[in-house]
Symmetry: C2
């Protein structure tokens, strides 16, 4: 057996965002139905300020993936990105390594952006035309790139702490999407009130979006919180929304739900649905144009399995 | 950064058993001194009868390794070995993947055989001339190949359940080591009484070596037990020996010590030493030619780090 080894540029060349969205939506349904297992993740700290995460996902009798992702905050001073890593795909009936992808988190970035698009497709109003993105890094860019594929967005407002980062984001995105009006937010509360769809992509550890700022009919996707302690949303916002998780137990541990539970504002029973239940039709998505919807995306190993498969299939065809 | 990718044959070509023995002895000392951390291992079952183990070892501020090893018992019927897998070496200060080794457990086999040689070097009598190997698979072969490097062995007796497997082993090993007399055991008890050094390499789950069979002055290395439930030695043998572990907590969970503890025969306090303590001189090895010594090798992630480094260094030089 020969193992396919792919470098970053080769992976980037075969990623098709339209297909990634469909694959992520489909895997949410498979995960909900129990077809994909995610063994408990594992991490260790090679130095005082770094962490290595090992995650895996198994589709029984078919395939499994193992992802090793490291975060070394000192890397940028050495000319490297802080997140590095690789993903491996194995034959689930023999253990043969089918593919090793030196993607340095590229696939994680894309499967996370696709999650936002699936959330918007299933929960945001069909007539949404304005978006607010909070955080203008890689995720802030990709979330909008993917969102534009599922809703007819005319205006995107960007908010971040550093004005120069916002300026650079606006220049880059305006060039990439000439039909969309990109502008800087003047204040976060005002920007929230004006947006049909809000996407938060920050590593915050305190609420950034206050419940009072969110108007009826708004959809919010929060992708920043993926670990204990992280938080972007006011628990009161979850309380007044149709609140949807990618995995309720995982959100209760790593997502926005952890803080709402700690504050005594919500319990797991108050979650409207896991997104997979909406995908397969067991639960409704948005039914009322006046609802506020929230999608809490903590990131599933199942998503890694889905996007790696997409790369594998496209490389096998070539 | 470019990641070095090595296939099985390339890895086999650079393994130097003499250097592996020194590297394993050295890493035992480093592990004992706390320089190598081994995060708790992780496993999952892709199918009803298979298992995937993920192990790692970290030398803080230097390097870390992650090993993925799968066991699919149905593989031989498909023309594949049941154990497959790969090992990855990372820069411990940046997370950059330095090397991916598609070794299909070759490095595990060698670092385990080297562990046996280190045990014999530190614990067996200098004048040992006869060895008994129990189990004639890959480990039964490599354990003797490595043992011959540290003791002047004239006679090797082989014991296994299947006579045809023993015959094939004797033919192959006689050819490889023409100066050594390889012969089949007639009975296990008798073979034990005649051997200066005994190495057990089976996946047994019941004691195979009885305490009464082991004469004063004998050294025993047991490498088969590496999981809860596995067992090769009578707990009474541990009781009457100078009993040495690779890692006492790990042996209490996965090694021969688990059964001695369960039987109320020993506690962790009765362990003479971890092998690393003997390497660094904190504890003596054998001091009395009449002692029975036992080395319980369950296998440490630290050993993977040591042997992967050896391959890395030899490939960088080329």
């Amino acid at each position: 057996m020969s193992t396919l080894t792919l470098q970053y540029d080769e992976i980037a060349a075969v990623i098709d965002p339209g297909k990634v969205i469909e694959a992520i939506q489909d895997i949410y349904g498979q995960f909900y139905r129990g077809a994909v297992q995610m063994p408990f993740p594992y991490h260790f700290e090679p130095t005082d300020d770094s962490v290595v995460h090992i995650k895996s996902a198994v589709r029984s009798g078919d395939q499994y993936v193992v992802k090793i992702a490291s975060y070394f905050p000192g890397n940028p001073s050495k000319g490297l990105t802080s997140i590095l890593g690789l993903v491996m795909l194995f034959d689930g009936n023999t253990g043969e390594p089918a593919m090793v992808l030196f993607d340095n988190a590229l696939l994680t970035h894309h499967r996370t952006a696709a999650a936002g698009a699936v959330g918007a497709r299933l929960l945001a109003r069909q007539d949404s035309t304005s978006a607010l993105v909070v955080g203008v890094g890689t995720q802030g860019t990709l979330q909008i790139d993917y969102l534009l594929r599922v809703r007819d967005i005319k205006t995107v407002t960007a908010y971040a702490r550093k004005p120069e980062a916002v300026a650079s984001y606006l220049a880059q995105q305006s060039k990439k999407h000439p039909g969309v009006d990109f502008r800087a937010a003047t204040g976060l509360g005002e920007a929230c009130r004006e947006a049909d769809i809000i996407v938060t992509t920050t590593p915050n550890r305190e609420p950034l979006l206050m419940a009072g700022w969110i108007e009826p009919g708004t959809h919010v996707t929060a992708v920043g919180s993926d670990n204990p302690g992280k938080q972007e949303l006011d628990p009161a916002l979850l309380k007044k929304s149709l609140y949807v998780t990618d995995s309720t137990p995982q959100c209760a541990k790593n997502g926005e739900l952890q803080h709402a539970i700690a504050a005594g504002v919500l319990t797991e029973a108050d979650v409207h649905a896991e997104i997979g239940a909406i995908v397969v039709g067991d639960k409704p998505g948005r039914t009322d144009p006046e609802s506020i919807t929230v999608f809490d995306s903590t990131g599933l190993g199942a998503q890694d399995l889905a996007i790696v498969n997409l790369v594998y299939d496209s490389c096998r065809k070539e």
